[in-house]
């Protein structure tokens, strides 16, 4: 309990009922997409305070600034880095490495997308890769659909692999103190395996039919990827800072450095290196431009959600829910972990995994006593991370990156429709979750 002065009755409801109702309505509104999700979560957060469930001070304490700082810092770094053209270079280079063979390109773009998604956020990754994909498939006069489908899959799988790859992992890492290396050692191996397994159905459905005219293949081979690098100085500065930040993530944990501090330091350092040679007016413009690269809608969505979830947590609702879950699983850690894995996967394939994970974190924390301490919860955290990240592949609305890719598909004249996508994606996602459950069982139990 965090708020000591909660009113007993709010609009005729107990504070627990009021917070629970507000939470359910917020969820329904987020799913309905009638109103922008940032507005909904900010409104819900404000109502938590106005109704007296939380004081403003308690609400601020509920915001996980480690998640916010890490997301913001990385968005600034990537926003500046992408101007160098390095990501386009990478995509074109990968296509040329396989001699612009259509199936080879698909596999390479999957690998590049997964790698970038593991290091950057998924939305940024697909925003960088999808336009190049459309260019290449247009040039080869082949359908972009299998490529974009594969990129959705690999962005969610790649994002699963690291602490910074996908927002659920950022939140889990921040709430539990699990570091970058913990995620890397526990989630990266299984993510790589799942990525490789996912290539099989994509090959059987589309890959084996992909053929392009040799003349058009030569056209792709004529792209001079080195020319994609527009600013070598910026590239060097960006790569220097990105390396430093990755090192910070890897070794910082042992020195008590939180990922948000590392990312924000990296953002400040890159801004300094970039702005220092410029005059004051140019500097202001450069900083404003860099800050514009931050997806403020996502950031405010997070802030509102943290307050909302902190509100229901403070009423004791999540604690009772945790007890009910434990009653269902009879307090068995293995059954709890595997159930959470599957439930998170199915839930994340239909609703945004961010609010889902934000709710699950305090709920799982409440199970610590039953299982004998927070250290015992670690396998459950990996289950939550795997389920909520991989679950994003279950449907077109499972992750923000999916919708971004669907938008590209539509604009390129080859739309990805909800049902046809789900018919292939949902079974593939369930296979990945099944593999994950075997992995979790064998490794942790």
């Amino acid at each position: 309990m965090h708020s000591l002065h909660q009113p007993d009755v709010i609009f005729g409801l107990s504070s627990q009922w009021f917070a629970g109702t507000l939470f359910v309505i917020t969820y329904i509104l987020i799913v309905s997409e009638r109103l922008n999700r940032a507005i909904i979560s900010m409104m819900a957060a404000a109502l938590m305070i106005i109704s007296g469930v939380l004081t403003q001070q308690a609400a601020v304490e509920g915001v996980d600034f480690n998640t916010i700082g890490l997301l913001t810092g990385m968005m600034i770094i990537v926003g500046i880095t992408k101007d160098s053209g390095v990501f386009q270079y990478l995509a074109i280079r990968s296509a040329k490495v396989v001699k612009a063979d259509p199936w080879g390109i698909l596999v390479m773009l999957m690998l590049v997308t997964a790698l970038l998604s593991a290091l950057l956020d998924n939305v940024t990754t697909v925003l960088l890769i999808a336009p190049i994909t459309i260019l290449i498939t247009d040039t080869l006069k082949i359908s972009v659909y299998p490529y974009l489908f594969a990129e959705i899959f690999s962005s969610n799988i790649g994002g699963t692999a690291t602490l910074i790859g996908d927002p659920p992992n950022i939140m889990i890492g921040s709430a539990t103190g699990l570091g970058y290396n913990d995620f890397l050692f526990n989630l990266a191996p299984i993510s790589i395996f799942i990525l490789l397994v996912s290539i099989i159905p994509i090959y059987l459905i589309w890959g084996r039919h992909l053929i392009a005219d040799p003349k058009l293949i030569n056209k792709v081979m004529s792209y001079r990827e080195i020319d994609a690098i527009k600013d070598w100085v910026l590239l060097k500065k960006s790569l220097f800072v990105l390396t430093l930040v990755m090192l910070g993530f890897i070794v910082g944990h042992d020195y008590g450095l939180q990922p948000a501090t590392v990312a924000m330091f990296g953002a400040a350092l890159l801004l300094t290196l970039n702005c220092l040679p410029q005059g004051q007016e140019k500097q202001s413009k450069m900083v404003a431009r860099a800050l514009n690269e931050v997806e403020w809608v996502t950031i405010f969505f997070f802030i509102g959600l943290f307050i909302l979830v902190y509100g229901i947590e403070s009423t004791g609702l999540l604690e009772s829910l945790a007890h009910q879950v434990l009653d269902l699983t009879e307090g068995d850690k293995t059954i709890t972990a595997i159930s959470i894995l599957f439930v998170s996967a199915v839930a994340s394939s239909v609703v945004d995994n961010i609010p889902f994970v934000a709710t699950m974190i305090p709920l799982i924390k409440n199970m610590a006593v039953t299982f004998g301490g927070s250290q015992e919860l670690v396998p459950i955290w990996w289950s939550l991370a795997l389920g909520s990240c991989l679950g994003g592949n279950g449907s077109l609305v499972g992750a923000s990156a999916n919708l971004i890719v669907a938008g590209f598909a539509e604009r390129s004249g080859q739309p990805i429709h909800f049902l046809p996508f789900m018919l292939i994606a949902f079974p593939m996602m369930m296979v990945s979750v099944l593999i994950s459950s075997i992995y979790v069982y064998l490794r942790y139990f």
């Binding site: 386009q88 336009p131 459309i134 260019l135 247009d138 040039t139 020319d227 994609a228 938008g407």
Partner: protein, 155 residues
Amino acid sequence: MNASEVMDPNPTTLKPEDTIERAAKYIMQKRYRNLPIVDDDGCYIGMFGVNCLLKHVIPKAVFIDHGLENVSFIHESLEELYQRFSNVKDLPISLCMNKEVETVKPDTPLTETLLLLYKSKTSIPVLEEGSCKLLGMVSYWDIGKSIMNREQVDA
């Protein structure tokens, strides 16, 4: 002074069913940047301009929303650009119409018309009050000529 006094009341117009190739040849020949498109009833429906041509010879991946910003690695010949143009040349110009160009009414004051001209960087259609009927076009040249003529009058 207002828009109707500086407009060209007999502008060259295109029809929505004209092909992109025909319209393109015409604007190239006459060195127009943009021309208004009107239907059979003289109703203004949009503008067609050189940008439409450029848009169709550059890869599609550039012009989609959040498209490719950096194309410095693509090196194409005129032949390749023509290939892309030939895919759309027989399509009607209505597919390539700019509907975002601001319009003015005949009584729009001269200064406001000038400001619009300055901001939109293209000739501006003058439409009949409360309807879509095209009455004329205001261009840099018409305004420029009118201002220069004052010099002669004053002299």
